[in-house]
């Protein structure tokens, strides 16, 4: 237990400080865990390896968790992986259950984080060997499975799929990246756009543009009337939080945590796929998912436990293969190289002390995150009490900072905000859906690389079925997901018809939703 010598007060203070700063970064729309880790990376020079790792892991855990705050309260995902949190979080906030929603998120987060830490600790080398069984083919199927949520996400399946395909199309603009194994040639654009769009649109500006800026445009159109973001928000009025919410949801919690860990573990499959996949599975497997997307706690649980489970998952390939599992761990690798420490298959056996130190920091950061968030939520939730004429300009400003900083200072990323803000507005106006579009956008690039690379190396479509037993299992899941979507679609259509015959002139809050349901 030599590593205990490294654990001093400073160590815990730094892990705690990291969690706090991380939460703040995550909570600001546009600032991500990756950015928090990146800006604090130079500090690790001065701090030494173990103290540095404490700070960085704290930032990582805090940053991923912080994303839930704007997702729930403002309908803007603070980090890409909290996108599915907006689906149920914001409707709950609108019903005045913002505080309750956030507390559910916090509990789900800490459970996800701790489960993944346990998995990391116990099974890292074994899982790393399992993860390399996933080649391009299997990774493509995982992306396809995550994409299948699109079909069941929207009120009309056709509209949902169409929106998703548009999202994929948008993600393909730019070059077919060399660093992904592409040939670096651009497509889907005109020559004059090349100086700006060479690398395509960046995910984060697109995300906060579509969610943040377009929400502001929709409000502006209505004259930004009420002083508050939503008049109906009466804090804590709509039901208090109690742990009994988790009763009967343990399967969901554990399943989502494992999905998060698992997706985090696969190098190259981005972190945002984790929460989407967990959300898909909850939607498919649970008995009653009709409320999901309208403010169901189960959606929050799935989303948040999965995205926090990412942390432990993404550390698995980092520490046992030397390969980062997501964008944040890719920055984290710098902390090791700066100190002259190699990460690779022999890292854990050769650096046992560092390994235990990291586990301690990870677990501690999760616990600190939990207490910080759980007790601060009451105050954080008051953000929605800030009048619109103060809140909106600040949101725009913070979106600008986040967009500009995400790629270390690219002005076009700021313009992307406006482009996608307007696009998001139009999309909702003409009755398409934002959520599938964004999921398509997030997963589109990866879908392309894995699909094309699989075909390039095997030269036949049949490889997607014959590659391995894992592929067959994934096909089973995809099939189940699609069948489920169709059944759900038929059911809701039947229900709608019944309702429509009873009630005339329904009221819809979202302009876009109004169109589809009526067009059905």
């Amino acid at each position: 237990m030599e590593f205990l010598a490294f654990l001093d007060v400073t160590f815990f203070l730094l892990a705690g400080l990291g969690a706090l700063v991380g939460i703040i970064f995550g909570a600001i729309p546009g600032m991500t865990a990756t950015m928090a880790v990146a800006v604090c990376l130079p500090l690790t020079y001065a701090l030494g390896l173990h103290h540095g790792l404490a700070l960085l892991l704290g930032l990582y855990v805090g940053g991923i968790s912080g994303g839930m705050v704007p997702a729930v309260l403002l309908n803007i995902p603070g980090t890409p992986s909290s996108i599915t949190t907006t689906f149920d979080g914001y409707p709950m906030a609108q019903k005045g259950e913002g505080e309750k929603a956030l507390k559910i998120c916090v509990v789900a987060s800490v459970v996800g984080g701790l489960i993944s830490a346990a998995v990391l600790f116990l099974f890292a080398p074994m899982l790393a060997d399992f993860s390399i069984k996933f080649s391009y083919v299997e990774k493509f199927l995982i992306i396809l499975l995550a994409l299948s949520v699109i079909a069941s996400l929207s009120s009309s399946m056709l509209i949902g799929i169409f929106s998703g395909v548009i999202g994929i199309w948008l993600s393909l603009i730019g070059d077919y990246g060399i660093s992904d194994g592409g040939n670096g040639k651009t497509r889907l654009m005109f020559d004059f756009m090349e100086p700006y769009l060479f690398e395509g649109f960046s995910l984060l500006p697109v995300l906060i543009g579509v969610f943040g800026i377009s929400t502001i445009l929709l409000e502006a159109e209505k004259g930004a009337k009420s002083g508050l973001v939503n008049e109906r928000i009466k804090l804590s009025k709509g039901g208090f939080f109690s742990f009994s919410i988790f009763k009967g949801r343990l399967t969901n919690l554990v399943r989502s945590s494992f999905i998060g860990t698992f997706v985090g573990m696969l190098p190259g499959v981005g972190g945002s796929a984790a929460s989407v996949l967990a959300y898909t599975q909850e939607k498919n497997l649970t008995r009653d998912s009709s409320q999901m997307g309208k403010g169901a706690p189960q959606g929050l649980i799935a989303s948040e436990s999965a995205n926090n489970a990412l942390t432990g998952g993404a550390l698995i390939p980092l520490l046992s293969l030397g390969i980062p599992g997501d964008s944040t761990t890719a920055v984290l690798i710098g902390a090791f190289t700066l100190q002259g420490i190699q990460v690779g298959p022999l890292f854990i056996p050769e650096n046992a002390d560092t390994w235990y130190v990291m586990m301690t920091a990870l677990v501690f950061a999760n616990i600190v995150m939990f207490f910080l968030m759980f007790f601060a939520i009451k105050y954080i939730a008051k953000v929605v009490m800030v009048p619109k004429h103060i809140l909106f300009p600040i949101i725009v400003m913070m979106c600008v900072v986040g967009a500009y900083a995400i790629n270390y200072g690219i002005m076009f990323d700021v313009w992307t905000l406006l482009i996608f803000g307007v696009l998001g507005y139009l999309v909702q106006k003409i009755g398409l859906e934002v959520a599938p579009l964004i999921i398509g956008f997030i997963l589109g690039g990866q879908a392309e690389v894995y699909f094309v690379k699989s075909l390039e190396s095997f030269g036949t479509y049949s490889i997607f079925f014959t590659k391995s037993p894992i592929a067959l299992v994934l096909w089973g899941l995809i099939l189940a997901s699609v069948v489920f979507a169709i059944v759900m679609g038929l059911k809701s259509r039947a229900r709608e018809k019944m309702e429509l015959s009873q009630v005339t002139g329904s009221t819809h809050t979202l302009a876009g939703k109004g169109h589809d349901t009526n067009k059905d």
Binding site: C40, N183, G184, I394, E456
Partner: protein, 147 residues
């Protein structure tokens, strides 16, 4: 039969043109879905518009034009000027700081419904404090590059 199937499924991708393969798939998919939607959704909808039961989105809707286009114009000006001013003080973040203060003030005014002295004072303070704080913490403390 067997060989027929496998030749049907076989595909060869030339690396030089592999950047066009997936977009082509997606283009066709998108076109197909678009036609489907045109037939099943848009056509009935347009018919309903003709009968006067429904209104066209965007053009046929009531809108607070002043605030809507004001917001668009302000944001566009904000983004544009930030780069211009920022270019005068390279990599100090002053462009962001100065233009943000002006932007916050104007946008707050745009959305303000009750023009009392007190609310305007709050608004001015906010317009100065918020960007300064953001600039100080991010550009100075964390040395993040800002325009």
């Amino acid at each position: 039969m067997e060989s027929g199937l496998s030749s049907l499924l076989s595909v060869s991708i030339d690396f030089e043109t592999s950047h066009l393969f997936f977009p082509k798939v997606i283009n066709w998919l998108m076109a197909g879905l678009f036609v489907l939607i045109l037939v099943t959704k848009v056509a009935p909808f347009m018919a309903a518009v003709k009968r006067g039961e429904r209104t066209l989105p965007i053009v046929g809707e009531a809108r607070d034009n002043f605030r809507f286009f004001g917001t668009l114009a302000l944001i566009a000006a904000y983004f544009y000027l930030m780069a211009v001013v920022g270019n005068m003080f390279p990599y100090t973040g002053y462009g962001f700081l100065i233009v943000s203060i002006v932007f916050l003030f104007l946008m707050s005014l745009l959305y303000l419904h009750d023009w009392r002295k007190k609310t305007i004072t709050i608004l001015v303070i906010n317009a100065i404090v918020a960007p300064s704080l953001a600039w100080f913490i991010l550009a100075k403390l964390f040395t993040i590059t800002l325009p």
